[in-house]
């Protein structure tokens, strides 16, 4: 017994600690740092894109390289920044929230992380091979992706790797949540963040293999003489889109449900009032997950679907507004008659509520098929999904970072700088993306390196906003660095109104979160 305990207490140091670690906190930290790194890599691509779009005419890049950048900006943000970011939160928090010592499958956990650096090395090195990275957009539509150079194959293989990493991580999360809860922690007592991740994990297991299969079919068409997506050989280019979006739409919810979870933790804390309508929140999340499987056609209203199919996808898409609305209403009702204070995490949560709702409402507009014919593939769509993914997913992670950073590091962050980060991000974000709605309505297609003169003014505003938005994130890194290095000691219960098991542990928490399971009443 003593030797077993000793093995558990063994802490390798230096590189070995990070390479071989099976500890959920170490792995969580690696995921978060990796995600932050990828956030800046993909963000720097966006800076080049916005610099090129500052003026009409070709300025600093060639059209083909511009397409490479749009592709990699999307792929790296989605698979490198947002998804690993949320997995980082899950690793750090799930065991602490459900009263477990660690994740259920620690070695698998290590492997899921360490696949990522290799996958992204492969993906990003496609820039340097003949023909460059694919210029297909992150959607990699056939037959354009059949035409692309060897970079496409590298991206396909890296997607295979990322899929393995995601599915393994998701299985680990499902097993942990279903098996490792402390006595008394029934499913309907779990914190919302745990619930949203449980549902997200099922989505991951369901759709990542679909993506892997789809890109493998592209690989076969490219090199092994199949014609899945080639009409001349009896295939169908639109089949690619059906398969891709059958993955793609649940993927959208994979990137937003954990954000809902984080917001559902933050708002009650700073309202000093329990989450309103917990049960309906759980059911709403599950409904959104279910609906996500039957709305994929709304990404492809212009491919020439029969009217009946267009109607089905229009109605099912509109239906998503109902459970999403329930969530927004519940959050607002949680704040209603609370005792509100506005520390940085709460600011981000309120920012999330307002701006995510703008993205949700423009999503409702996009669902209306006749109107979608006008919005489809214009900057209106670019505006829409950045309101959902940046002010939705990314800003929820920023809020979550400020919320739990004192718990993770044992130090309080600098509140003034945190607030500055929030306001700069919010102002520049809206300056960047709000004008894009109008660009789209006025007729500017997305994924173009050059545009007609009437779009100049709004593109300038968007570019200036984007540079500001990019720069503001450096402040975030600085605050994180400062907090990791030192600062005011954080108490166990960092926030006055915080509820949940993670706040019963010291800040920073012990290496093995709950050595003895707590009892939940």
């Amino acid at each position: 017994m003593a030797s077993a305990a000793a093995i558990h207490e063994e802490h390798p140091v230096g590189l070995k600690r990070w390479l071989f670690t099976t500890n959920h906190k170490d792995i969580g930290t690696m995921y978060l740092v990796f995600s932050l790194l990828m956030f800046f890599v993909a963000g720097s691509f966006a800076m080049v894109i916005r610099a090129e779009l500052f003026s009409p005419g070709m300025q600093i890049v060639q059209p083909y390289f511009f397409n490479e950048l749009t592709t990699m900006h999307g792929l790296v943000m989605i698979f490198g920044a947002i998804m690993p970011g949320f997995v980082g939160f899950a690793n750090w928090l799930l065991p602490m929230m459900i009263g477990a010592p660690d994740m259920a499958l620690p070695r698998l956990n290590n492997w899921s992380f360490w696949i990522l650096p290799f996958a992204f090395t492969l993906m990003l090195s496609s820039f340097f091979v003949p023909g460059g990275a694919p210029g297909t957009g992150w959607t990699m539509y056939a037959p354009l992706s059949i035409q692309a150079g060897i970079g496409m194959d590298m991206v396909i293989f890296s997607i295979h790797l990322l899929g393995i990493s995601s599915v393994l991580g998701a299985i680990n999360i499902i097993v942990t949540i279903l098996n490792m809860r402390a006595p008394g922690m029934t499913l309907m007592k779990m914190p919302m963040f745990v619930w949203t991740w449980l549902i997200t994990a099922f989505l991951l297991v369901a759709v990542m293999p679909v993506l892997a299969g789809t890109v493998t079919m592209v690989l076969m068409d490219r090199h092994f003489g199949t014609h899945f997506f080639d009409a001349a050989g009896g295939g169908d280019p639109v089949l690619y889109q059906h398969l891709f979006w059958f993955f793609g739409h649940p993927e959208v919810y994979i990137m937003i449900l954990p954000a809902f979870g984080i917001i559902s933790q933050i708002i009650p804390t700073f309202s000093r009032k329990p989450l309103f309508g917990y049960e309906s929140m759980v059911y709403a999340t599950a409904s959104i997950a279910f609906l996500s499987f039957i709305v994929w056609g709304h990404h492809m209203f212009t491919v020439g679907m029969p009217a009946a199919a267009e109607m089905f996808f229009m109605y099912s898409t509109m239906l998503i507004a109902v459970p999403t609305g329930v969530k927004i209403f519940n959050w607002v009702a949680t704040m209603w008659r609370g005792s509100l204070s506005f520390e940085t995490p709460m600011l981000f949560a309120i920012g999330f509520l307002v701006m995510f709702t703008i993205g949700g409402l423009s999503g409702l507009m996009l669902a209306i098929v006749p109107a979608d014919f006008q919005y489809h593939n214009t900057y209106f769509v670019v505006a829409h999904f950045h309101y959902v993914l940046f002010s939705g997913a990314a800003m929820a992670m920023m809020g979550g970072c400020y919320y739990w950073l004192p718990k993770w590091t044992g130090h309080m962050y600098n509140e003034t700088l945190g607030k500055w980060h929030f306001w700069l991000t919010t102002i520049f974000f809206n300056l960047t993306f709000f004008p894009m709605h109008f660009l789209g309505l006025a007729g500017m297609p997305r994924r173009v390196p050059d545009y007609a003169l009437q779009f100049t003014d709004l593109n300038r505003v968007a570019s200036i906003g984007a540079f500001g938005l990019g720069m503001s994130q450096l402040l975030w890194v600085y605050v994180i660095y400062q907090t990791v290095k030192g600062g005011k000691k954080a108490a166990s219960k960092v926030w006055e109104g915080a509820e949940g098991l993670e706040w019963t542990l010291t800040s920073p928490p012990p290496y093995h979160s709950f050595a003895t399971a707590p009892t939940v009443k």
């Binding site: 005419g57 060639q62 397409n67 003949p130 460059g132 539509y141 037959p143 354009l144 035409q147 150079g149 009409a231 169908d236 280019p237 639109v238 309202s271 000093r272 329990p274 309103f276 309906s280 212009t302 009217a307 109607m311 229009m314 509109m318 507004a321 109902v322 609305g325 329930v326 927004i328 209403f329 607002v332 009702a333 704040m335 209603w336 008659r337 005792s339 509100l340 204070s341 506005f342 309120i350 507009m365 209306i368 006749p370 109107a371 006008q374 489809h376 593939n377 709000f434 109008f438 309505l441 006025a442 007729g443 297609p445 997305r446 173009v448 007609a452 003169l453 709004l458 300038r460 505003v461």
Partner: protein, 407 residues
Amino acid sequence: MSLSFMKKKPSRPLNVAWARFAAAMALLLGVGTASARVRWNFQTPVTPMAHQIFHLQDIMFGVCVVIFVLVFGVMFYSIFAHRKSKGHKPATFHQSTTVEIIWTAVPFLILVAIAVPATATLIKMENTSGSALTVRITGYQWKWHYTYPAQGIGFFSDLSTPVAQIENQEPKGKHYLLQVDHPLVLPVGEKIRFQITSKDVIHSWWVPSFGVKTDAIPGFINQTWTEIDVPGTYRGQCTELCGMGHAFMPIVVKAVSQKDFQKWVTAQKALMVASAAGSSKTWTEADLLSHGKTVFAANCAACHQITGQGIPGTFPPLSAGKKFSAAPAMLQQLRGRGFLTKDGRIVMGPVKNHLRIVLQGIPGTPMPSFAGQLNDADIAAVVTYERNSFGNHTGDVIEPSQVAAVR
């Protein structure tokens, strides 16, 4: 940067952009004026369907603004009134089935109310029957081809904005990137059916003022329709990422009266006869070179560049002696045709192979077949031009009859 921008456009300084942005914010809050719409909303609709879409968008926008104001009115009131710094004590309620049912049911009913007009419009949009004219639209990387099957007319429509404007060596014209050499000409006042397809990758044909956007998919024909109310020139763009030239394949439609349309049809038929004659006569070297330059700019320069220097790693240069490396498959194809030396330099291979490359394309590479796009005279001219430009001095003069022999 900003200084030169101010100088170039003194009538529109940056603060106008800001003022407009502020106006847009005002519009979002529902206090905008109708005049703000022209620039901030859809382009002016000129077909019944575009009008209906505009109307639907107005309804949707109104609904969204009302919901937004109501929900966040409540939230911001709470932020104002229920703050700890004012000493507000938290309530303890956290559940109400009645409220949950209300805010599930009410949005649902709103959605049903929106779905009714949306469905009605959609059904009309999908009805392509009863058209008086059919136009077949084919997407190519990176241009459009239009055919009028009943009239026997067909032509390509290429971007006509000079490369010098795109590369900022010349001031940009009013319709920068939205102008073509041969616009699509359509009559007003009758139902026109479009049959849309593609020769290579997926494109999408969009004219905002018509409310028509349909994907052009290789191997499939999509149908859609329009009926234009107002004569005029309408401009749109390809809206599906189709590779490097995606931003450079605009759509221009000239809507004219029925009478003018008939005149145009007659004139086009005469032009096609003249063009066919061009392929049977013998051309002088000077004529070939000057026509070849035009053909090259419209068809080849997107990839091989107007300078003929290509793009390293992707598109080969057309200058003998230039080094080129790319994917092994492409290099092998070039070597096999005699256009690449062992040490990786471009060389002008045999004329026959040159013609074959242009006519048939190179399978497995982005080089497309031009057999269906260019006539014998065009190909003779462009190959003559390529073999005597960009530092090449082969002195070869290729006549249309030689092209016909290889074709």
